[in-house]
């Protein structure tokens, strides 16, 4: 093998290695598991754990929102699936919703989750689930943001008549 080929191979391999190092410093994985998941996301082979996702959905439908969120977070450990992030945001909305007042902390976490979902989705995110009243990420985001804002309408006694979506 001549010098030129060794130079080309050395440059190519070390450039790939350097790119991997930059990626590690940019994504800052905390464990080897996160390194593996991050590599799957980068390679485009990442998939949500469907079994855990379904288990979380069952919990969500039984109104066990906190347990559902935990399960969804385990199903999508890289926080890279828009649909799962949408459901997590929906779980924050339903748990935080109140007839008299909303839980601000949960709604803010919901806004963060729905923003993640919107950022991850290349097109308009729509979830076709008959058990939900809000099917698009934009609708859910508007509802969550509205819940975190304070206005004179909050003291309206008729507010107790509104329903959770």
């Amino acid at each position: 093998m001549n010098r030129r080929w060794i130079q080309i191979i050395g440059l190519t391999l070390s450039a790939i290695y350097a790119a991997a190092i930059i990626w590690l410093y940019a994504t800052e994985p905390r464990t080897f598991q996160e390194v593996a998941t991050g590599a799957q996301v980068a390679a485009g082979t990442y998939q949500v754990d469907q079994e855990k996702f379904n288990a979380a959905l069952a919990l969500f439908r039984r109104e066990q929102f906190r347990a559902a969120r935990d399960e969804w977070q385990r199903a999508d450990s890289a926080q890279s699936d828009p649909k799962t992030q949408f459901y997590i945001a929906y779980a924050f909305y339903r748990e935080g919703w109140g007839r008299v007042y909303n839980d601000q902390a949960l709604f803010k976490l919901g806004v963060e989750a729905i923003n993640r979902a919107i950022a991850l989705s290349p097109t308009t995110l729509t979830v076709d689930d008959q058990n939900l009243q809000l099917h698009t990420a934009a609708e859910l985001k508007a509802e969550l943001e509205q819940g975190t804002q304070r206005s004179w309408g909050d003291v309206n006694p008729l507010k107790v008549l509104r329903t959770r979506k």
Partner: protein
């Protein structure tokens, strides 16, 4: 007899080319990767600390010192008479050396507080003074081993032992006293013991890289290295 000598010379040249273009970039990139790696003492999670501005400045001074000390012959590494691919490979090698040096400093500098600036100042002072001293490659390597070795001992043995969470009551008392007197400016983050091992391995690898550069350069009769001369 002449054929045997030719084969030996050919093998030597081939090994030098492999070391120059394959092994050295990988060694320096590994140093760049591990130099900023810390392991949290609480949950053993990885923490990746990119090189700070001061480590980049120290790295510039160190690379200049390596050039002045004769460990790197930059004029023949990057020259108009070399083939373009050889120049590119040498620039890349120098880049990896620069970032490896920055991360080697990152590995032995305390992460924050007054100690970070004290260590940085001493490094800066030493490297600046050395710019005006007469060095050969061997003396320079010895000097660097002592410089990094001292910083390693101070940070990963003395300081980490003083601020260890599982230390004796005397250590806890001393660290609390120091923190109180200095209003917390001497506080350093606590890391798992494996951080010290990673740093030791990183510095060892960095020194091996520097020794290899020196070996490749000194093993040829002329100043033109096989990695540097570029004519195949």
């Amino acid at each position: 007899m002449k054929t045997d000598e030719l084969v030996l010379a050919n093998n030597k040249l081939r090994n030098q080319i492999i070391v120059s273009y394959l092994v050295l970039p990988f060694i320096f990139l590994t140093v760049a990767l591990l130099g900023g790696l810390r392991v949290s003492s609480d949950n053993h999670a990885f923490m990746f600390l990119p090189p700070s501005l001061i480590t980049l400045i120290l790295s510039v001074l160190l690379v200049l010192l390596l050039v002045r000390g004769g460990l790197i012959d930059i004029r023949s590494m990057i020259a108009g008479i070399n083939p373009p691919m050889t120049n590119v490979a040498h620039v890349w090698l120098l880049l990896t050396l620069f970032f490896a040096s920055a991360q080697a400093f990152n590995s032995v500098l305390p992460e924050r507080g007054l100690l970070h600036w004290l260590f940085s100042f001493f490094f800066l002072w030493t490297l600046w003074n050395n710019q005006f001293s007469s060095f050969d490659a061997r003396r320079l390597l010895r000097s660097l081993v002592v410089l990094f070795g001292t910083a390693f001992l101070l940070k990963h043995l003395l300081l980490s032992s003083l601020y260890a969470s599982d230390g004796t009551w005397l250590k806890s008392l001393t660290s609390t006293l120091i923190s109180s007197v200095t209003l917390g400016t001497f506080d350093t983050p606590r890391f798992a013991a494996s951080t010290g091992y990673i740093s030791f391995f990183t510095l060892g690898l960095y020194m091996v890289g520097l020794i290899l550069i020196g070996t490749v350069q000194n093993s040829t009769p002329s100043r033109n290295l096989p990695m540097i001369s570029g004519n195949s």
